[in-house]
């Protein structure tokens, strides 16, 4: 524990690698010599496929770009760099990938040796099976039932979401660079603040406000850097880009961003209570916040679990419709296509989903506008089946039969669909979120294994 009077942390990107960090504001921030360079590199926003499939949604060279910016600045200044939820999902392979990138960058830039500490967040299904066999309840979040053996069985990959604990431990080990598995976005920033003795309320709040970088500033502009400053009395957040400011409105607005409740946020170990938060415009680009409190959990620490399960193979067909009569009768057209698929694939197990752009592809059943007003429709046909062969066949029939639809009054008797491609397109398999649950642990470090290595050129 190194008690400080003030700590300054730069956050250059809300999701490292997902879209490149903007360099101008980053360099402006680096010039001010922050004490820590921190960034979160993952999210459950990106859907269940990357976790289930163990893949990235971000190109590796974008990840390299963003890690390189931070690593060079942090090493030059000789201050720590912390990355959470590596590689979009924080799975073990993604942690290994980021460690590999750090090594490559150290070699490329002939950096002096430094200590890298990394941790893994993946959980084996066997671990949870044993817990459940011993009567442990794995509680569901957001209205889900407790975990059942069936749902666990259907799961392909599980990560535990780390809180501050593995990061603090890594700092205690003297880490210069920390590469974390799946972790809470705010924890990446709260951890160094807690390590240096600042209060839990202010530390967790600072984590919350910093983790999306310039999303807490206005006017809207992502991937720009912000700097958070914490003292024993307050947190201040400052936008680095010349055209952006952290205003009371933008910061208070961010406190409720992508969360159900603007007053409370749960972390492994307790809840952040923001009911007494006061916001003040400190200077043109900085807002000052006082008043957040942290309520430690009464009982064992609960760690969030995310899990994704394989559902089936998919193919996609893309078809356009321009004839107004066909558009008016599109439901009939889809029915025809479905019936043809049923006939052709009699007895086989597949599904077809029609995303109709121009009708309700974006909102589905939530769409209040029931009448189609567009002169054109874009139809994306998505198939699902146990094998690639069947998924492909279903997608072909499902798309091609739109072309062959039999509408009695149609003028366009040469075909009722505009094919964009003469083929259906392979796409990653379908997965679904099987776990959005919590597990009680005796020790916050129980689920996260920490390793250290020296990186030298």
């Amino acid at each position: 524990m190194r008690q400080k009077e003030q700590l300054r942390i730069i956050c250059p990107n809300g999701h490292l690698g997902f879209a490149c960090t903007k360099e101008e504001s980053f360099y402006i921030g680096a010039e001010t010599k922050p004490d820590y360079y921190c960034c979160d590199s993952g999210s459950d926003d990106i859907g269940p496929v990357p976790l289930g499939n163990d893949t990235c949604v971000s190109p590796r060279n974008w990840q390299v770009h963003d890690l390189e910016l931070m690593l060079l600045a942090a090493r030059k200044q000789n201050v720590p760099m912390i990355i959470g939820s590596s590689g979009d999902t924080g799975t073990n392979s993604r942690v290994d990938s980021y460690v590999e990138i750090i090594q490559e960058l150290a070699t490329k830039h002939r950096l002096k040796p430094f200590k890298l500490v990394y941790f893994y967040s993946e959980l084996e299904k066997a671990f949870l099976i044993e817990k459940m066999d011993n009567g442990f309840a794995i509680e569901g979040l957001d209205g889900r039932d407790n975990l059942t053996m069936e749902e666990l069985d259907a799961t392909s990959r599980i990560v535990a979401v780390a809180g501050v604990h593995p990061f603090i431990k890594a700092l205690e080990w003297g880490a210069d660079v920390i590469i974390g598995g799946r972790s809470s976005d705010a924890a990446v920033f709260a951890a160094p603040a807690l390590y240096h003795g600042f209060s839990e309320g202010l530390s967790y709040y600072m984590g919350k406000v910093l983790e999306c970088a310039s999303f807490c500033a206005e006017p809207y502009g992502a991937k720009e850097s912000v700097i958070g400053t914490i003292t024993n009395q307050d947190v201040k957040v400052t936008a680095m880009h010349p055209d952006q400011s952290c205003t009371i409105a933008s910061v208070a607005g961010h406190a409720m961003y992508e969360r159900s409740n603007p007053y409370y946020e749960a972390f492994a170990g307790g809840t952040l209570d923001m009911r007494e938060c006061k916001y003040e415009q400190f200077d043109k680009k900085t807002t000052r916040i006082t008043g957040p409190k942290f309520i430690p959990i009464d009982g064992k620490i609960k760690v969030k679990l995310e899990g994704s399960g394989f559902v089936g193979e998919r193919y996609v067909g893309i078809v356009g419709v321009r004839d107004p009569y066909t558009i008016e009768h599109i439901d009939q057209v889809i029915e025809w296509a479905r019936s043809q698929a049923k006939q052709q694939l009699k007895g086989q197990d597949y599904q077809l989903y029609y995303h109709i752009y121009g009708k309700n592809a974006v909102m589905g059943n939530l769409e209040p506008i029931k009448e189609i007003k567009s002169h054109e429709l874009g139809i994306v046909v998505e198939s699902l089946a146990n094998t690639k062969e069947l998924a492909k066949e279903a997608a072909i029939i499902g798309s091609r039969q739109i072309f062959y639809a039999r509408l009695p009054e149609v003028k366009g008797t040469a075909g009722t669909a505009a094919f964009l491609f003469d083929e259906v397109l392979p796409v990653s398999p379908a997965f679904r979120w099987t776990l959005n649950h919590t597990i009680e642990v005796d020790d916050a470090m129980d689920l996260f294994d920490l390793y250290e290595t020296i990186i030298s050129a």
Partner: protein
């Protein structure tokens, strides 16, 4: 009696995933006046939102009037988790537009 649409009164209207099972909506105003006006009008309420989206009120997990940000926020349960087969909006960030045209009496 003069009417305005919500998009004319609000600074920001947005939606985003709040975890994988829920979508949260924020209607944010520039200053107190329009915020209080819309709050009082009850144009945004659990009932009106449920009617607008054609869902049951029980599907609305949270409804908050957040004074520090002059914002009204509500959260709905997704029909199926984000990115499930058939989901058309993985991030949940294009579900807010029906709110834009809600009519509010301003005088």
């Amino acid at each position: 009696m003069k009417n305005k649409k919500l998009y004319e009164l609000a600074k920001s209207v947005r939606s985003k995933n709040a975890g994988v099972d829920r979508i949260t909506f924020d209607v944010i105003f520039n200053e107190k006046k329009n915020y209080e006006l819309v709050k009082k009008s009850k144009v945004l309420s659990k009932q009106s939102v449920a009617d607008l989206f054609g869902i049951d009120e029980s599907q609305i997990s949270d409804f908050v009037e957040f004074d520090p940000a002059f914002a009204i926020k509500f959260t709905i349960q997704r029909e199926k988790p984000s990115g499930s087969f058939g989901d058309g909006d993985i991030f949940g960030c294009q579900q807010y537009p029906p709110l834009l045209d809600l009519v509010v009496k301003v005088e």
